[in-house]
């Protein structure tokens, strides 16, 4: 059986939140492992940091900041939805969360290049 079309704003907000959360969960161990090398292998960490000058890595960082921002602001919307008095403008708020995330990650990107 076909499932009902999910391309409505709040379902998309749900899937964006879920996928960004999963992606961040996968990223975090990597992040901590890299940081730990400041103690265990400082030299190789320096050469790793040199990689961050590559355009591809910059683009990936932009993606990462976007994921973080969209998960943060989307999460704030969900907290407000569940704990504050109900607001009918959920679709607007979800769109605003994505908008702010684009703004934040976009200005990060412009800063980086």
């Amino acid at each position: 059986m076909k499932t009902p079309p999910r391309a409505h704003p709040l379902w998309l907000a749900f899937i964006l939140h879920r996928l960004s959360g999963l992606a961040l969960a996968l990223f975090l161990p990597l992040h901590f492992w890299t940081l730990s090398r400041a103690i265990t292998a400082p030299d190789s960490l320096d050469s790793f940091f040199a990689l961050t000058e590559l355009p591809m890595v910059k683009l990936a960082e932009f993606g990462l900041v976007f994921l973080l921002a969209v998960h943060l602001f989307g999460g704030l919307r969900l907290l407000a939805l569940e704990f504050l008095p109900w607001s009918n403008s959920q679709k607007t708020l979800a769109a605003a969360a994505v908008g702010v995330a684009v703004l934040v990650s976009g200005s990060f990107f412009l800063n980086a290049i």
């Binding site: 499932t3 999910r6 709040l10 379902w11």
Partner: protein, 244 residues
């Protein structure tokens, strides 16, 4: 404008809980025709063994909901013209419920969850008491008034992906019913309701995807009701801790 000789290709699901398949019928197209008219035409003129359910034909009883081209709808209030896709209609029993036969879904699980969410009235007075005046203008009463428009058609239940992923989940209709009673000053079982809706299959399963609100034919907003129930369960849990 469809001419009388034009036909629709209508595919209906045929079968039982043991399995089934899709079967296509040619149905005459008319300018004014609901999906329920089409299903009835098949039963009257093409295959009398087709099983489906309806009663009021005017969007009051909630018994005619089916999946129409993948979307849960009241078939009696859905114009073919609004949903037909290049002359084709696919009609299936409601999603997320077992099927009895053909287009008739087994609603037991849906109604059982309504009861499991304590969706029944818990009286505070008896018939000997004088009639209690109810202020229709309070915010709580307005919430309750919205909720009592639900006609138990299970469209929201069929639309919900959380129900699809977790058969224990009470679902939007039952939780909205709980919210209605929590807002009804005449209901006397607040704590019982809150306990019933905060367990394993309760309101905290909801991911606020909003498909219930998106597809409710009555334009109700179960998603906001569930958010209200979530808020109340948390408040109740915190207060209880303070009292303990």
């Amino acid at each position: 404008m469809s001419k009388p000789e034009q036909t629709l290709d209508v595919t209906v699901w045929r079968g039982t809980a043991a399995g089934g398949e899709l079967e296509t019928h040619k149905v005459p197209a008319h300018d004014n025709q609901t999906v329920l008219d089409v299903v009835s035409w098949i039963q009257h003129h093409s295959d009398p063994t087709l099983t489906y359910r309806f009663a009021c034909r005017v969007g009051m009883c909630g018994s005619c909901a089916m999946m129409v081209n993948g979307i849960p709808r009241w078939t009696c209030r859905t114009h073919v013209g609004k949903v037909v896709d290049e002359g084709k209609l696919t009609i299936e029993p409601l999603r997320n419920l077992p099927v009895i036969k053909d287009l008739a879904a087994d609603m037991d699980a849906f109604f059982d969850k309504w009861v499991a969410a304590e969706g029944l009235h818990h009286p505070t007075q008896s018939r000997q008491d004088p009639i209690e005046p109810i202020d229709a203008t309070t915010p709580a009463r307005k919430q309750a008034n919205a909720g009592i428009e639900c006609i138990n058609c299970a469209v929201c239940y069929a639309a919900c992906d959380t129900v699809a992923g977790n058969p224990e989940y009470l679902g939007p209709a039952a939780l909205q019913r709980a919210w209605t009673l929590l807002n009804d000053t005449r209901d006397g079982a607040r704590a019982t309701i809150l306990d019933a809706v905060s367990g394993a299959g309760g309101c905290h399963n909801c991911h606020s995807m909003g498909s219930c609100t998106q597809y409710c034919p009555n334009e109700l907003d179960p998603m906001s009701a569930i958010a209200g129930v979530k808020r109340e369960t948390v408040r109740h849990a915190l207060l209880r801790r303070k009292d303990a």
